[in-house]
């Protein structure tokens, strides 16, 4: 059953994800920060692919490019890649059990980080020689089931 969701709630959750991703964070956990925008993007692309998808992914990536001072288009590309894959498999993804969804989410975020770091090499940064780029995927994976329940509350009436 496809139905339209309130556009305001979608926009607000995206703005909240931007705020969360630039919020001050304890320096020893800086690599563990979950990829909030990717989580929100995956959720809404899965729930309402006719409202949120490639373009929303691209625009939120562009905002991340501005916030993080990366090349314009870099994060835009990696976020729209996430949106593309979720839009492709959204019907199957909705039927998956929650933990299986979480694994897919973690995988997508890991791929996004990899692409980001490869693109960073073009600008002159070197690829990190540790596994820190996997950490956000792990934390996002753990967060997914809880975030799913919370976001579901925003558009499902209480009974």
């Amino acid at each position: 059953m496809q139905r339209r969701h309130s556009g305001w709630i979608i926009i607000l959750t995206f703005i909240a994800s931007f705020l969360l991703s630039i919020m001050p964070w304890p320096p020893q956990f800086v690599y563990w920060r979950p990829d909030w925008t990717a989580l929100i993007l995956i959720y809404w692309t899965m729930k309402t692919p006719q409202q949120v998808g490639l373009l929303s992914g691209w625009l939120s990536g562009l905002i991340h490019d501005l916030l993080n001072d990366t090349l314009l288009g870099q994060q835009a590309l990696s976020y729209s890649l996430i949106a593309y894959f979720v839009a492709q498999i959204q019907q199957r993804l909705r039927l998956y059990p929650r933990w299986q969804q979480a694994v897919v989410v973690g995988g997508l975020i890991a791929v996004r980080n990899l692409i980001n770091l490869w693109l960073q090499i073009l600008v002159g940064y070197s690829f990190p020689d540790d596994w820190t780029w996997l950490y956000p995927a792990l934390t996002s994976m753990i967060l997914w089931p809880w975030l799913y329940l919370m976001l579901q509350d925003t558009h499902r009436p209480y009974r």
């Binding site: 931007f18 920060r33 916030l67 090349l71 314009l72 693109l119 960073q120 070197s126």
Partner: protein, 300 residues
């Protein structure tokens, strides 16, 4: 029929749209890495300032609250401490004034160019995080305050970095420790010149191109590094860091030397922006310079 239509809509042209997005993003990245799109970024960043402001606001508010509800005793103690510090600093400043006038007199005798005058402005670091693989901070002064690209940023202890991106109301500063940052420096004790590059780590700098055998006497752990002013971006004479370890590995082409930055890079709430008024260059070279025999340039 309706759900069917919606399904078709969401998947229609998905591949085509994705290809368009890939092409658009790639061309934007290529354009920006060649130095275009500066104005686009400048105008777009006015849009994201509210996001940065909203994140920064609670932090600022909590600071304001804690200073408002300080007890009187705490304030008195702090006041006394600050007054003592002020006295001490003024005593040092007296000596500095004396040295400054002496320096000016000596420069006049040597008929050399007077030192540039500097203008300093305080800027606050926005409590905003930038992605962890580069070392950058965002400050609350932008083009409307006259900040320019390449401007030097220091704190009370030493050089912090330079402005790499000026937005209307804020700017991004690349810290010394960013792996793309290079800074010409000089060892105070011996005058040895080198380049300090960041490593992307929190508190480490590498010193490059030092390989001569006599390096052992010219640089050692604990030496103070200052900006040499080469390259023109940075005013000379600001402290950069101290040498932490010198590793003379014969198998390597260059010695491996590491330094620790002086500035409190990750802990600062306030930074200083420096405007250096470049002195007017003399129209003709002074005779003392032209008579000097040309020395071979010594490169370490």
């Amino acid at each position: 029929m309706r759900p069917l239509f919606l399904k078709n809509f969401s998947s229609r042209f998905l591949n085509l749209r994705f290809i368009i997005i890939i092409i658009a993003s790639t061309s934007m990245m290529l354009a920006e890495s060649r130095g275009h799109l500066k104005t686009a970024r400048f105008h777009l960043s006015a849009l994201i300032y509210p996001i940065q402001y909203m994140v920064d606001m609670p932090v600022k508010t909590s600071q304001w609250l804690s200073s408002t509800f300080n007890t009187k005793l705490q304030l008195l103690a702090e006041n006394a401490e600050l007054q003592e510090q002020n006295l001490r600093l003024q005593a040092i400043l007296q000596k500095f004034e004396d040295l400054n006038s002496e320096n000016a007199r000596l420069r006049l005798l040597l008929q050399s160019v007077p030192k540039a005058s500097t203008h300093i402005q305080l800027a606050e670091v926005l409590a905003v995080a930038v992605e962890p693989y580069s070392r950058k901070i965002v400050i609350n002064k932008g083009q409307s305050d006259g900040v320019f690209e390449g401007q030097a940023v220091v704190d009370a202890h030493g050089v912090m970095g330079q402005v790499i991106q000026v937005d209307p109301f804020s700017s991004t500063v690349m810290l010394l420790t960013d792996s793309k940052h290079e800074l010409p420096v000089q060892v105070v004790r011996t005058g040895l010149q080198t380049v300090a590059v960041g490593r992307g780590l929190v508190n480490r700098l590498d010193l490059l191109y030092l390989s001569t055998p006599e390096i052992k006497t010219e640089i050692k752990a604990g030496d103070l590094l200052v900006t040499s002013g080469n390259g023109g971006h940075f005013p000379a004479g600001y402290p950069v860091g101290t040498v932490a370890e010198v590793n003379l590995d014969i198998s390597q082409p260059y010695a491996q030397i590491q330094a620790v930055p002086k500035a409190l890079l990750e802990r600062n709430r306030e930074v200083l922006l420096i405007w250096e008024n470049t002195p007017v260059k003399p129209s003709e070279p002074s005779p003392s310079v032209s008579q000097e025999p040309s020395l071979p340039i010594k490169i370490h």
